[in-house]
Symmetry: C2
Subunit: 432 residues, 2 copies
């Protein structure tokens, strides 16, 4: 057996402690699979004393993770600090400068600086692995970079944020409001005290931008992702979706179009019968469509100490086995810089919920606007309620261009008979 592979770990939160536990528990197995023992030599975290359920005595402690990345006796630096800037970025850059391999779970860092960091890693001749950055325990980066390497990937979409999926699942199961379910999720530790990264879709967009880069062989373009979160999804929308045979999911989707690359994160109505509709709670799932494989689906736990540690350690084993891969599936010089397909060019069906003051003529006004904008209605649902209050009217459309839909919406919003801003949710045809 070869000499031990020494690693240094920066960041000992949930994931860092999970990695230490995994290596302690499965060390013999990892050595057999890797051909070398995997040994943690150095660690760094913000607070030293906190009980993490793991004995930290065997490891050299660094107060400064950047100093550790520079000085520790380690072939691999594992970055689990998080955040797009600051110490996480400095740790990764320092490790690369010192020609140490990097394993990171940091989606924000890669989404913002991934292409540059990938270039630097390639120039330094070191491995940069990031399986844990996307979809937790699901080995989706490996599937995209390697398992589906024979295919031209045409489209991918997925549920990439367990917090949002938990909230939407719970809203559907309980009929409760977004705010109430979010508060519960925060109390249970499923959502952060400041939940905006998750519920506003930023986290999903980080992951989508990384996945799209690997799938389509392009530079990471986080700024090109169209993003809507789930704050505006109401219990009423979820109820109407069910009546129409849909479930509401926050999806990240990316596609190569004639206008460039389309990257979108927003709530979607997906058919109840589609496989992604049944991915519930904290589970994540990614669907990829390739020109030879057809559709492949990968599902599992998207977060948590165990699944994320599983992904981090798979990366370490890869490096121990000396698997060397282009960082984003292609050498940095070969990564395309593609134009962005504007969301206005998106074509799809739409769900609209209008709150209508029940006056004669309102349907005629709406129908006239749709006629003018050439938007074709598929179905209208109207619920009778208290006659003194605005009533919800739900309209679904046939496939149309987003630009036309938006023009129609802004004209509808301006009607005197419309009591609240109209709500629009895109309908996604995701049959296998």
């Amino acid at each position: 057996m070869k000499p031990p592979l020494k690693i240094a770990i920066a960041g000992l939160g949930t994931v860092g402690a999970g990695v230490l536990r995994l290596i302690a528990k499965n060390g013999a197995l990892l050595a057999a699979r890797s051909g070398r023992p995997i040994v943690v030599t150095a660690i760094s975290a913000r607070t030293r004393g906190r009980d993490r359920g793991v004995d930290l005595a065997p490891f050299r402690w660094f107060d400064d993770p950047v100093a550790m990345a520079a000085e520790a006796e380690a072939e691999i630096v594992v970055e689990l600090i998080g955040g797009a800037e600051g110490p996480a970025k400095a740790v990764v850059e320092t490790a690369i400068a010192r020609r140490r391999h990097v394993v990171t779970a940091n989606k924000a860092l890669l989404a913002k600086h991934g292409t540059a960091i990938g270039r630097a890693a390639e120039a330094a001749g070191i491995a940069l692995h990031y399986e844990a950055a996307v979809a937790g325990g699901i080995p989706i980066i490996k599937a995209m970079r390697e398992g589906l390497a024979g295919n031209r990937i045409e489209r991918l979409y997925g549920i990439l944020n367990g917090t949002c999926n938990y909230i939407l699942t719970t809203m559907r199961e309980t009929g409760r409001s977004f705010d109430a379910v979010l508060a519960d999720a925060q109390a249970l530790g499923y959502a952060e005290a400041d939940p905006s990264f998750d519920i506003d879709g930023i986290d999903t967009a980080h992951k989508l931008a990384i996945l799209a880069s690997v799938a389509f062989g392009g530079e990471i373009d986080f700024d090109g992702v169209y993003i809507e979160g789930i704050r505006h999804v109401t219990a009423e929308d979820i109820q109407f979706a069910a009546e129409l045979g849909y479930r509401i999911k926050l999806l990240g989707s990316a596609r190569l179009t004639d206008h460039g690359i389309e990257q979108r994160v927003h709530p979607c109505m997906v058919k109840l019968s589609s496989p992604i509709a049944s991915v519930e709670g904290v589970y994540n799932a990614v669907f990829a469509e390739g020109d030879f494989v057809g559709t492949a689906l990968f599902e599992g736990r998207g977060a948590g100490a165990g699944p994320t540690a599983s992904a981090v350690v798979a990366d370490i084993v890869d490096i121990a086995r000396e698997n060397r891969l282009p960082v984003f599936g292609l050498p940095a010089a070969a990564l395309a810089r593609r134009p962005r397909a504007p969301i206005e060019r998106h074509r799809g069906a739409y769900y609209l919920r209008l709150m209508v003051k029940d006056e004669p003529g309102v349907f005629a006004d709406i129908a006239a606007i749709f006629r003018d904008e050439r938007v074709s209605m598929e179905a209208i649902l109207q619920r009778q309620r208290d006659a003194n209050e605005p009533v919800p009217v739900v309209i679904t459309t046939h496939e149309t261009e987003e630009a036309a839909m938006r023009r129609a919406l802004s004209r509808i919003a301006a009607l005197a008979t419309i009591a609240e801003p109209p709500r629009m949710i895109r309908i996604e045809p995701l049959e296998r």
Copy 2:
């Protein structure tokens, strides 16, 4: 860019022709991803003249695939002939002897001779890749050997044969008999003229034995797989399953138990709400449970030219990238030889269908037998039909040991009031 990677392909059936088409269509992409052009130099098949939709002129033709494996100008020999013995085996052995890497889609060969072939490959220092042998386009071998390498895998199960899944799905959807649906499947090309490999569970068992080896780090033990096919599943059983909230699937499952390794292939009743219940038609799916990742699910097309070619080419790209892996996830010397957990020690719930001559006392007899064998009933369903014909009585049990169930069954079968051999289908608790 490095010099071209030359490959020789033995076998030009559906899959072989698919591989040629993929390399022709996506050649530039493969070169960029691999860092070297991938070039087919030699081919061999039984008949030269047949139109395969690909121009064979650029390739050196060999009538004898074994001669090709020995003499072709190629770093990789791709074996797509099939069959556990004969030319396929000779091709692989010859390639290894000549220190050429091997990519194969041959599950029968690996199930029977995989451990020996893996040892030989390891001794020769060449790569042996076999992604296409299990679950078609789903990169499940890569997920097991690499993506989940941090985990001790505790259990896996899956739908591994598209023909059986298609037949069971169609029986459910149409209410037709096994024989009628099989005949249609044969006419459509979804089932072979001699379908026994598929419908008797052999093909599933081949794949399961390979998967279990990689997952649990043991020698392949195909002879240790308990196998039942789907011939005895009736439209009536499928109907009763639906009434009880189940769907019938042919599953391969493997588990580490206190008595050794349990490998089973047989029809199972799975809850309608479990994710595997909705894997329909020609789709395959594999679930793996690891100690850190939890449950991970992989789903996709299990057969066909495109998906299988996708898997074969992923293996070629792996070799081009110089990824070197222990053949079954561990070096051959480290593969465990585990005792077999006998099926009689299996514990689970059971579905029984008895055809009962409607005479007084029959329930008392059955209840007495269950009492004697300590089998606890969960539910009984009886359908009234023509009083002159035997009526079906369906019984589900609570968890019990298979040995007790079998004793009870053979005593029930001997009752004078039982008109046909009782049918038993195991119920699998597969919630996430």
